[in-house]
Symmetry: D2
Subunit: 377 residues, 4 copies
């Protein structure tokens, strides 16, 4: 059986997933056979060019016709395009893989998660938190689950970028509340919340996030529009440039979160740090092959290169020390998701996970509005 | 003229300051001549031994008799001993140097700052925030003041230790709310708040801290008492093991703060990070000779060894690359403070600075109680 | 026009190049169209499986029939298989891409380079020094060529691995002098010598390597053979486990080289360091997205993440901070080589570069035998 | 009993040792009582000022009168002043502590070591290799001696500075072969050779250094003289700016050595790396509180902050994480040496150790002259 894939979106994420799909046969031969069947978008010329370059058989400008024709539907469009096509696909019984954050608003995310529930377990609905698929993160998950770090007490997550430091950086949909939902909070914070949930939110570790205090800020209220007509124009920035938050988990674990798009010198610096009763962990996405671990018997953090054959996913690739890149996380993620689809099994991170992250982000915004801690029930 | 010094306290801080005083003539020959005149404490035997080892001429068990006899009074006792002797000395017109945090409670700190104001500018009252005297921190201050980092937008301070990870670590006065005021928050947070105030709280940079949201937690509610009688006993821990906070400065700068005494693998890891419109800075106390700087023309952080003769205080010591240690900050601090005393000039960090830090810490606690942001007026 | 490619070898290097070829259309659309036409080996079953997995149209067990049928011949076999097929292909006017080191012996390398010369400039003969194609290395090359580091004075190269620390690590062709030529010296040292040549051996920089003093050592003289029959057997290790060398370049630049397969904790740690009159550079393969640079105006090394769109090759991939991996060097290398083939242009690193590296390695061995410096000329 | 100390030399080393002596009573109360008795030099005015600042009772311009009057003689003058006063003191039965390198020439070093032997074990003759007294180095020594790193196979030592990168850096005695003996080789290489001998040259580890191949180079042949008369003058540089070497130890361990005074960005960067059959070690003087260790059970190097009370010398100082500086090595060294003097016991590093290092350095120079390996018998 060959799974026919329909993909909405052909820019950054479209390229990242098309590449991942193209690499499966050579590196994950046990993944199901797939066909990049149809690429969905609005601009036919751009779409034709992209379909050709990314290896799709056909194009479509209207997703309604696609979502129940294909075996799997990937929703890689801007955030405001996540809900309707995803829900339509699920209603048609088509498995969906949707980019993060799940939706621009919590209400949308709830509708999407409900559609996933209604579709049933055999119709996987995945949310593309790709950093769960970094080998070092999976390895960390294993250490945590095995109790190597002990009972969790403190976590720290931050995601720093600097592409908006330049006041002339142009306006885009990512800076608009209606199209994107939130700014650094949604785009980057969603990843951080999901990673912390993945790593410690087990009942046996820290449990779920119970309370949040948040703070959001927009440093530059408007940005120039890249116009073809040479007219100088600006458009309002209606999302946050940066946020901070404090967390409390079920078992009393304390946490701090932060993201910024205006942190000079940080390109894609997603850092997770965890302290437990028996040890500590540190991870940084800019050195994604490494994990720093302090565990029993250690006097200092070990800097571990997570590239041994026993490490998660590594045996599919290269010998020790031949480091992987960012894009490999998409290959792992696609392999797992498509296998779930082929087997009619559930997949994590799911829409429920996407919703759980969204609840936290929403609580951060509410907390920022009200100036008080918000409980997540 | 030789300044006669009276010092209350002869343990960790007593040793650190006695050492600093002893080293002034060789390294800071322009500092005033001093005599380690009298060491004040309660246990005569221990005091006699300490006075001998630390080079004091005499001992006293009652501070009342000392504070107006000496030319300068150092208050290095536990936090709850800070207020009365310091106030008495200032009332007697004796300059005071007091360890941090200034007092166990905000009310005490206010009384102390008021006594300092009343004593007048020519009677310096210093608060021992020694990390202002790290060459790398002074160098950072210079870069910030010169605008090299631009307008400040985000700050981050955290201070991690691990001496309370062990559940058998014994109870001490530092774990008692009445004696210490607060835990990690007071002991470590005071340093972090002061450093951030020192570095960015200028009007031209971020301005003062205006709002705070805080979170405190005690992970272990009781600790064993080190008893001579072999009886197993525990005493309650009534201060925090860790805290987190979010800040907002006058100009809108966002900040996060954190400290812990239960962060495995971190011994004395005080880290400050600052992002502005033109660059970024990072400092860690465990590598206190280094400053990481990103400024105009840099594509990445420069790791600067701040040991050149032009660097603050360094010409008093050794050639480039011959690194200084933690204790050198005390030598710098004592040199500056004693020079202020000799000249009848004000000194910073002052009791007013101590009070300002205390207000922030107090607001963190209040915020933790109330679950909402607290304004600092 | 579509280039038909024949590839000898289907293990580690076969997979790395097949993957690189497969990725060209999506990421380097200007590279020539190619067809993975025929995969050459000895074991038909393994070959069939590999051809299927790696995307080859057909298989062949005899390279003679292949080398003039195809448009390009890739020689990715063990070192002792490099000379004859490569020479035959070149004699047939077929461009060749050969893995490094160019040959097991200097005499073989000379024959191969001669064949390349005879074939003429329009028949590119490339030697697969893939680390020239790391973006950070290309960026370093640019800085050096622009004089940012000044006149070169000292270089340092080392390549540390640890896969032979375990005394039970099995014997392989890489440990046999007849099959591999040399050990760490040939396998790892070839890369280091080539990188240093690439970076500084310009006339305007350090010029060519003029003298060498070398030292080789085998720590374990025999290794177990992985036998199916359960018989315990060992085979002799006839190559070095580690080597060191000192270099002198034309302009007087001093250098040290080193490689090891028995350095615990180092998986694939290829480090290059360069000091000039105006600055310094450092690179490590385990953090291949980073370059450390000290240049005019810097007080310390800048840690640069070489992932900006202006950086070499990066615009073909992902946004800043989305790091590349080891395998991307092969994509860049294949793109450049195949473009040279399509255009009938010369390609570097060439067989002449492979020979130049081999001369240095051979001089290291001769120096080790004789206990004296060896001149290269 | 109070030991009366005579010290020749009052510049950098004079200050470093005077400071160390002054700090003993407070931190090493078990060290013998001493009196900084007489400071020896040539320029009376400078000497008087220095004696006052450094705490000496008197001055002398002629060492002959001093060496048998005092209880201990410190020879901290330029290298060419090491031999005669040290020998005279030893002949008078006065213990001697001499700065490194032991002497400008091997012949001088041999005479000095002979004088030390003749004086007998109860008259300690110490050579001031202070880096043996870094806590992290002592800790490393312990790990090596306990077999934690296994059988030693490879060592690496380098010492990089950059104070001669500037072509206008003035001439000094350190650049003259007659006064200094050698350049980077003697000044820096002596430290590296001694540290490697200290760490691994035990019979049970690598044994002694048996063969050497060396390379020396002077990049700038003359330097300006700092003249009072405003006349532009230069003087010849007759020592090396940089050297490299390869080593072989008794058990076959391979090594590389290197030092430079022209490595931009490196202030005092003394790095030691060791690989054994069971693990690896790394140390850098610029982060002298840290040791990186890979041992059984580790997947990566642990970065250990060697500041725990159990660590060598640390209990004399401050709590964990309160880092020491460069000068503390002198306090440890003086404490050990003066205790040996008081007890009439031998001290290491001794003149014999100084001579052993000198033999290696001399062999490096001979090897450089002859272009061949030199055996050390």
């Amino acid at each position: 059986m060959t799974l026919e894939i329909g993909v909405l979106g052909y820019r950054f994420m479209g390229k990242a997933h098309a590449n991942a799909m193209a690499r499966l046969p050579m590196f994950f031969p046990d993944a199901p056979d797939i066909e990049r069947s149809v690429l969905v978008g609005r601009d036919e010329d751009a779409l034709t060019e992209a379909a050709d370059r990314l290896g799709f058989d056909s194009i479509a400008t209207d997703w309604e016709s696609v979502v129940d024709d294909v075996d799997v539907f990937y929703n890689l469009g801007p955030n405001h395009v996540h809900p309707e096509p995803s829900i339509a696909a699920l209603e048609a019984g088509t498995p969906v893989f949707c980019e993060k954050p799940l939706a621009p608003t919590l209400a949308d995310a709830e509708r999407m998660a409900e559609a996933a529930r209604d579709a049933g377990e055999s119709v996987p609905a995945g949310c593309a938190f790709n950093y769960r698929f970094v080998p070092a993160i999976r390895y960390a998950r294993g250490l945590l689950a095995d109790g190597e770090i002990g009972e969790i007490r403190q976590v720290r997550g931050r995601y720093l970028q600097d592409w908006l430091v330049d006041p002339d950086a142009p306006w885009s949909w990512r800076l608009d509340a209606d199209l994107a939902g939130a700014g650094a909070l949604g785009d980057l914070g969603a990843h951080t919340v999901d990673l912390l949930r993945y790593l410690v939110a087990d009942g046996g570790l820290a449990g779920s996030i119970e309370r949040v205090s948040g703070h959001c800020r927009t440093f530059l209220e408007e940005r120039p529009v890249d116009g073809d007509d040479g007219v100088d124009e600006t458009r309002a920035v209606t999302v946050d440039d940066a946020y901070t938050a404090q967390l409390e988990f079920e078992n009393g674990t304390m946490g701090t979160l932060e993201a910024s798009r205006v942190a000079p010198g940080h390109k894609n610096d997603h850092t997770i740090e965890i302290h437990g009763t028996e040890g500590s962990l540190r991870f940084s996405l800019e050195r994604l092959n490494e994990l720093e671990v302090l565990q029993e018997g250690d006097r200092g953090y070990e800097t571990i290169l997570v590239t041994d054959p026993e490490d998660p996913y590594v045996d599919h690739w290269w010998p020790p020390g031949h480091v992987l890149g960012w894009e490999h996380t998409f290959v792992h993620e696609n392999s797992e998701f498509l296998t779930a689809v082929a087997n009619g099994e559930s997949f994590a991170p799911s829409f429920a996970d996407g919703l759980a992250a969204q609840r936290v982000l929403d609580a951060v915004e509410t907390s920022d509005d009200r100036g008080e801690w918000i409980s997540l029930e």
